[in-house]
Symmetry: C2
């Protein structure tokens, strides 16, 4: 089973990488881009036993909270 | 309008970052993780004129192809 964890910067945190992308798009001639934010998408392949175990979403949230995201500056969303 | 571009490594390309995450999850005691792949999620905020313009999806694909992804090793998916 494949689960996905999406990690994004909290809205109040500045994103210099996203700003650089926005400026680069402008230079390439793409107009009308108001803002860009860059996040991470982590695909986790679980074996069948884990995938069928109860509380798999909670386990994925724990993974995200402990390792995949920095909860001080990032939000995460788990999709099972 | 907010559009999302998801950039992932092609399946045949090795992902050392994902492997490092998999090993770290194992060390933290999370069992049953067979594989991890790390990709990027780019949120693009377009102004209303651009969002209503025809061919906005094509334009976003062009952005992804020219700047956001490296088509040699990465795939991308545009969600408008």
């Amino acid at each position: 089973m494949k689960a996905t964890v999406v990690v994004t910067l909290k809205p109040e945190v500045l994103d210099p990488q996203g700003d650089a992308v926005r400026r680069a798009l402008e230079k390439l001639g793409f107009q009308g881009v108001k803002g860009v934010r860059v996040g991470k998408l982590i695909e986790i392949e679980l074996d069948d036993a884990q995938a069928r175990a109860p509380g798999v979403a909670d386990k994925l949230r724990k993974m995200a909270d402990e390792l995949l995201a920095n909860p001080v500056i990032e939000d995460f969303d788990v999709k099972v």
